[in-house]
């Protein structure tokens, strides 16, 4: 038989209060600590994101966005997605994954900007030509079909590709699947053909020889960085990509 252990003496009221306050301080610190973890993804920029048209500079954009997703709801091509918790303070903030579904300005005037209740997508913007999301760049010239002087026949991104695009000649108001719109081109000019901005990209001859079919895409300063060229490029991975703008006028 062992001696039964005496019960601990009941806590005095002020001891109880002291423990409660210590617990509260510990828990409060833990919650604030958890909220501060959001700094890492933001400051280390470990998930660079292409923001929707009209987005303010990144830090201001994260501050001004109220994380409601109204921009997501109005986009006719469903290009906009909201960030997850691995983006820290980018949680609930919209971005576009151009390769999967680019913004092709199907909405004509920037609907996402009009939908934004805070001006995180700046309300001063009302023409697609004034958008500055990024700048297109020929990242893999060796993969570019035009540079090889080759044509393109078939579905730009294969039969399984789910992305949609507005083909004005098919239906002015309704975007259709890229897979439902096969091409037959003697020389691949998809990035130029489908670019929604006038004079943003053109094909230039690679040599002075007029018999030489080879062309190279040349991006001009009119490029707004919508990512349509990245989306439509049939090379895998895309030969042309959009560099995300960090500050106005300083892409790449």
């Amino acid at each position: 038989m062992t001696e039964p252990r005496p019960a601990p003496p009941p806590l005095l009221p002020n001891q109880k209060l002291r423990r409660q306050i210590l617990r509260s301080v510990a828990m409060g610190t833990a919650v604030v600590g958890a909220s501060l973890l959001g700094f890492f993804p933001v400051l280390r920029k470990w998930i660079p994101r292409l923001r929707p048209p009209g987005a303010l500079a990144e830090h201001e954009f994260l501050a001004a966005c109220i994380k409601c997703g109204q921009c997501v709801q109005v986009c006719p091509v469903k290009a906009i997605h909201l960030g997850d918790i691995d983006e820290g303070y980018g949680l609930g903030v919209p971005h576009i994954v151009a390769r999967n579904q680019a913004c092709d300005f199907s909405c004509d005037v920037v609907q996402c900007v009009l939908a934004c209740p805070t001006g995180a997508l700046s309300h001063t913007l009302n023409r697609k030509e004034d958008v500055h999301m990024g700048l297109a760049r020929l990242a893999r010239p060796e993969a570019c079909l035009a540079r090889q002087g080759v044509g393109f026949k078939g579905q730009a991104r294969g039969p399984a590709y789910k992305g949609i695009h507005r083909y004005v000649e098919v239906d002015r108001w309704k975007p259709i699947r890229v897979a439902d719109h096969p091409y037959d081109l003697p020389l691949c000019d998809l990035c130029v053909r489908e670019c929604p901005i006038k004079d943003a990209i053109a094909l230039a001859p690679l040599s002075a020889d007029p018999a030489d079919k080879r062309r190279t895409p040349v991006v001009t300063s009119a490029c707004v960085g919508c990512g349509m060229c990245e989306m439509i490029c049939p090379a895998e991975p895309a030969a042309i990509v959009v560099d995300i703008r960090r500050q106005r006028g300083n892409a790449s």
Binding site: Q20, M27, G28, V31, A63, C65, I66, K67, C68, G119
Partner: protein
């Protein structure tokens, strides 16, 4: 003075027993004192033999689910009645902005945004009218999940498998200031990255994500350690709406006369400090509105065996 007390208690002060009573209240207290223990116990038992109602809880859950579904359906079927999420939305075209989210944005962005001022104006009016923290219990999706977690916690606690470790209620006030300061200093909407309200609302409308792990962890913690931790001790959204609802016409009111002081209301309440007046000899008057922190969830109204706690719309009874 009454309002100040109610605000003080909401911010974390402990409620105190009144020192002065109105004449009518003093007479009732005295009459109750004369009733002997056995008689009182019989009275309590008799009133409790009736089946327990869940009227207000069911109404509230129906509203909560309907409001959140309206956001989902509106987007999925492109009805455009309610666009956005709980942080900010357009309701048939009118801007609505959650007060706390709007505050975080303005502190971080350091601009007064016209749409947000309009949006917060409508929301301020709406929740002043409906009772401030009624946002919590009638709309917030986390509240519903936390209520279910609380049920599990109480079941486990009854079997002595878990113990509630309550925090000091002042924690929420301190955290409110900390999150406001963090937004202003860092220029990021820091609180939004951990807000279960926003995370759940967006998950419902735009699809689930990793952020739900955080919400799940919070719920698990509430089951195992601290009963209703987030809603009681942490959430700044609740405190914001509490301040809005401090002078709201929609209230739960307490009537001293038939109260048996058995305390069933305080057992079900999210914020039992507002029901301190239901303790024996704690009511300074016969009719009392209960404090600003009340979420108007109606659990106490359902639980009360004597009908001493009721919903009341200030001014409406005079009108009728």
């Amino acid at each position: 003075m009454k309002l100040l007390d109610s605000l003080r208690i909401m911010l974390g002060a402990a409620p105190v027993r009144p020192t002065a009573y109105t004449e009518a209240a003093a007479a009732i207290h005295e009459a109750k004192r004369r009733v002997k223990g056995a008689e009182r116990a019989r009275a309590i038992k008799a009133t409790h033999s009736e089946t327990r109602k869940n009227t207000w809880r069911n109404r509230r859950w129906a509203v909560l689910i309907a409001v959140n579904l309206l956001f989902v359906v509106s987007y999925r079927f492109d009805v455009q009645l309610v666009e956005g999420a709980l942080t900010a939305s357009r309701v048939i075209g009118f801007h609505f902005a959650d007060l706390n989210s709007a505050l975080q944005v303005m502190l971080a962005f350091k601009h007064v945004l016209v749409n947000l001022v309009i949006g917060t104006g409508t929301v301020l009016f709406l929740w002043w009218l409906f009772g401030g923290r009624s946002f919590c219990s009638w709309v917030c999706p986390y509240h519903l999940l936390a209520e279910l977690a609380e049920k599990i916690h109480l079941k486990l606690a009854a079997k002595r498998l878990v113990v509630d470790y309550p925090l000091h209620r002042g924690t929420r006030t301190v955290l409110y200031l900390v999150f406001a300061a963090l937004a202003a200093i860092s220029g990021f909407t820091v609180y939004e990255s951990i807000s279960p309200t926003g995370i759940l609302s967006r998950a419902l409308i735009y699809g689930p994500g990793l952020a739900l792990i955080w919400v799940g962890a919070l719920l698990a913690y509430e089951v195992l350690f601290i009963r209703r931790m987030w809603c009681r001790y942490i959430c700044p959204v609740g405190l914001t709406y509490g301040i809005v609802g401090a002078v709201s016409p929609v209230q739960v009111t307490y009537n001293l006369e038939n109260c048996l002081h058995e305390g069933d209301c305080r057992k079900v309440c999210l914020v039992p400090h507002v029901l301190e007046c239901t303790k024996k000899s704690y009511a300074a008057d016969v009719d009392l509105p209960i404090g600003a922190d009340c979420t108007r969830c109606g659990l106490c109204v359902d639980a009360c065996p004597t009908g001493s706690l009721r919903f009341r719309v200030k001014g409406l009874d005079k009108l009728l």
